[in-house]
Amino acid sequence: MAKIIVYRPDLVEEVLPTGTLARRRIPAGGLRITLLNNGKPKTVPLLTYVSEELARHFPVTSVTVHSKPSAAFTIDEETAAGLARSSDLLIAGLGDCGSCSACSLQDALQLERLGVPAAVVITDAFVDVCGRVAVRLGFAGYQPIVVPHPAATRPDAWLKDKARLAAAAMIPLALPLAGTAAAS
């Protein structure tokens, strides 16, 4: 059979060098938590409840909300550096759509590369896309914190319940286990 030579039309996926997760530790004075709010509905209460749950397990000195102008953009390097200086733990969210999930995940991974433990809260519909983005960014296996989809239409009690579960999932991933906090 005759052969032909053709051009490939695609770009071979570029994967960043494997990233290293930031060291999980609790500063002596307690955690400064930053909630990176992408503006999606119910993000601030959900992430606030998560931080309140974490405060039941760890000393927390401050909880600050930083709001992005658009869920469809990632934070720039300067913003990431500023957040890294002012945070001991960053919680990004809420990823409940395609672009906002990918962008919030990238925000969290930017902070991890800058040495700050970070978590991203997404809804279960977007686990796959976050998995693929994490691989591309050099953090294969990075686990988002997952709540059921949709979250934006849920009442306060539902948000509190899922925040409790999200915080429990976050502790082994983004923080030292509670029992070892003081020694970290």
Partner: protein
């Protein structure tokens, strides 16, 4: 860098589908001679960078664009328009990372205004959004194939569209220059009449507007308002952009009544503002904490659908017959995405000459160092 692969001639088109390199339709196989002809049609080198999508770590080159334009079925003389559309898509304002990934599933709607559209056979008349015109079908398809193959926005990969719309295969059309004193889109946007421009906007699907026996401008435009402010359209009350494609009969009515394009834009922008009661009665919640999509209301309590008069593009096109026009809304508000317009550079056009002083510029920091 373009990569060559060898395959069986008889199986090549099928292999492209199997490897996920197409939009589901068969493609023209991008052999080196076809790709070189495409690059020549655009007057560009294969390694010329058209732009990047930093969040996806993707760089789009003219070479990869040419490969995908060949696959889409473009003729080489279409390629300057494909290049202009891609340069617009890769402008940070367009937000390719968000627009191509979003569950909103937008089309990359391409409006071509200017003499080059007519020269290459882009349809601006009857069956505007329909089949039968190679340039319309393949230019939009080329841009979508670049989005899929080069930027990585493949369904189920980095394109998370929930519904998408048929315009994602191709949504490209030309403008028919309107009769004076109305001006074509490119002139309205500040370009020269002899230029050809490409405007690219991430949009929902076109909606037809039917109004058949109406000789009064304001009454006619109220029909337009009725579809533009329907709360099921995502940008309603959130401040977005849109395209009005005015068919010949509706243009005639508006001009005959003495309306300018600016007056049409102002009227539609004002009349499509919505009250909270209108949104709530249509089941759209307003008081959801953190609902980023809503803007602070105006002093009169209304929310904009079209953010400003400049965010509504008036394009004249379509076929004669009973009164039809179309409305194409952006898929998301201005805070996330914007339309971008680029002038088409004809193949072989020299880059602007900055003059003899261009080498003598001393930056302030350098002057201080000296």
């Amino acid at each position: 860098m373009l990569e060559l692969v060898e395959m069986d001639d008889a199986d090549a088109a099928e292999l492209f589908i199997e490897r996920g390199w197409t939009d589901g339709l068969p493609v023209v196989v991008p052999t080196p001679d076809r790709v070189e002809a495409m690059l020549a049609g655009g007057g560009v080198e294969a390694d010329e960078v058209l732009g990047t999508v930093p969040a996806k770590r993707r760089t789009v080159t003219a070479g990869l664009a040419a490969v995908n334009a060949v696959m889409a079925g473009c003729k080489p003389d279409y390629f300057p328009i494909v290049l202009a559309a891609l340069r617009g898509m890769l402008d940070p304002l367009w937000n390719a990372n968000g627009a191509l990934t979003s569950t909103g599933g937008s089309a990359a709607c391409i409006v071509v205004s200017g003499p080059m559209a007519r020269e290459i056979g882009l349809n601006a008349k009857g069956n505007l959004f329909g089949p039968g015109y190679r340039a319309n079908a393949t230019i939009g398809r080329a841009v979508r194939l670049v989005a899929m193959n080069v930027i990585g926005a493949r369904p189920g990969m980095q394109d998370e569209s929930s519904m998408a719309n048929p315009g994602k295969y191709s949504l490209c059309f030309a403008e028919e220059d309107p009769a004076e004193p109305w001006q074509p889109l490119r002139v309205q946007l500040g370009f020269d009449r002899q230029d050809t421009t490409v405007t690219i906007m991430a949009t929902e699907a076109p909606r037809q507007i039917g109004s058949h026996s109406n000789g009064d401008a304001e009454t006619l435009l109220r029909t337009f308002v009725s579809i533009m402010k329907a709360p099921a359209t995502f940008i309603v009350g959130k401040g977005g952009q849109g395209i009005i494609v005015l068919g010949p009969e509706h243009q005639f009515v508006l001009r005959d009544c003495g309306w300018t394009q600016a007056r049409v834009r102002a009227f539609l922008t004002e009349q499509t503002r919505v009250t909270p009661a209108e949104l709530v009665s249509a089941g759209v919640p307003l008081e959801v904490e953190g609902n980023q999509h809503y803007l602070p209301p105006s002093p009169d309590g209304k929310y904009p659908t079209i953010m400003s008069e400049q965010d509504l593009l008036i394009v004249t096109a379509g076929g004669h017959g009973a009164g039809w026009s179309a409305y194409i809304p952006a898929f998301s508000p201005n805070k996330h995405i914007r339309a971008v317009t680029r002038r088409v550079r004809p193949a072989g056009e020299a880059l602007p000459d900055c003059g003899p002083d261009s080498c003598e510029i001393v930056l302030p920091g350098m002057a201080a160092a000296e």
